[in-house]
Symmetry: C2
Subunit: 193 residues, 2 copies
């Protein structure tokens, strides 16, 4: 009777909007909490079965297709979700491969670190753009939805942290480019610090 966190995202997504299929739920996760959470089908479909067998969600026939299986959250499911929401959140052990490589970067040439940071900047700029799009469109598409203020808050934290990372990247690149000049192969040996 213990649930993985996948179960709660699924429950949550069905609480936000009923009559979703496994496929829908995956897409909804991608589109709404994709910046900070992900799930695969291999996780979602078994979870759906399990939640249904426990009465936390209930399968309903789809008007669109016989193949498609839609679900609704039950009252028991809502209770379960609310209990979990009120529990203290746990910090997942962070795993940032970028930072790990940067940490050991003195083993390789400064260009490697510079390359990684540039790549990070590119990814963060892209992330920033999509978040800006969402920021613009979400209020219009979800006017009146009680979830909206919270959705905007999650977006706000994502944007704030991404902005901070972008700023850091800029100064970090500047720093490394001087460091590269100081120890790089293109500089005569006598000019080293």
């Amino acid at each position: 009777m213990k649930h993985s966190r996948t179960a709660f995202v699924v429950l949550g997504m069905l609480a936000v909007e009923p009559r979703r299929s496994g496929y829908d739920i995956r897409k909804a996760i991608e589109a709404s909490v994709g910046h900070f959470w992900g799930e695969s089908y291999g996780q979602i479909y078994p979870t759906l079965k399990r939640l249904a067998s426990e009465g936390l969600i209930e399968p309903v026939p789809s008007p669109r297709s016989k193949r498609r299986q839609e679900y609704c959250i039950t009252e028991a499911g809502r209770v379960c979700l609310r209990e979990w929401l009120a529990l203290p959140f746990q910090n997942d052990r962070p795993r940032n491969e970028f930072l790990l490589k940067l940490f050991f970067a003195s083993e390789v040439s400064p260009q490697v670190a510079i390359g990684h940071i540039r790549e990070l900047q590119a990814r963060n700029r892209r992330a920033m753009e999509t978040m800006e799009q969402i920021e613009k469109l979400a209020p219009k598409m979800n006017a009146g939805n009680p979830g909206l203020p919270y959705w905007m808050l999650t977006l706000g934290l994502g944007m704030a942290m991404t902005r901070a990372a972008l700023d850091w990247g800029q100064t970090a690149l500047a720093e490394l480019e001087t460091l590269e000049g100081a120890s790089g192969a293109s500089v005569p040996a006598g000019h080293r610090t």
Copy 2:
């Protein structure tokens, strides 16, 4: 012949300083990259065995104790580490339970969200303090170490993002407290901040 990322942290830690034991490595990870990476003993010890059997590290007897098993990175190990460092980094799928709970917070009372944010602020303030300590002490303890500039960069990103999160938290709390007042729920005067 494919290695998990655990192998590379271990290799990296032995590249930074030789003659470390599994226990040492764990502590070193905690102390230096703990903000963005973690490993458990159940992962470290088997990895050590495997790397040794592949000749990427080599066990050396300890002068301190017969029980203690120290390791050094080999030339092959260094090559392997450098290759990995140059490879593009992968973004791990982020999993932020705090944001997930905040996203679904309209299912529960605003106080729940407020409580979570306050808790986040507390954790971030603590993290900020330890990072500030490290920022102050690291340069003195590692003067001349070629890794130092990179270590400070990783610390810098951690601090920048934590600062951004702290700022966000402040405005988010302000916002939610008005939202709480607007929805009719009265708060006893003594409970306000």
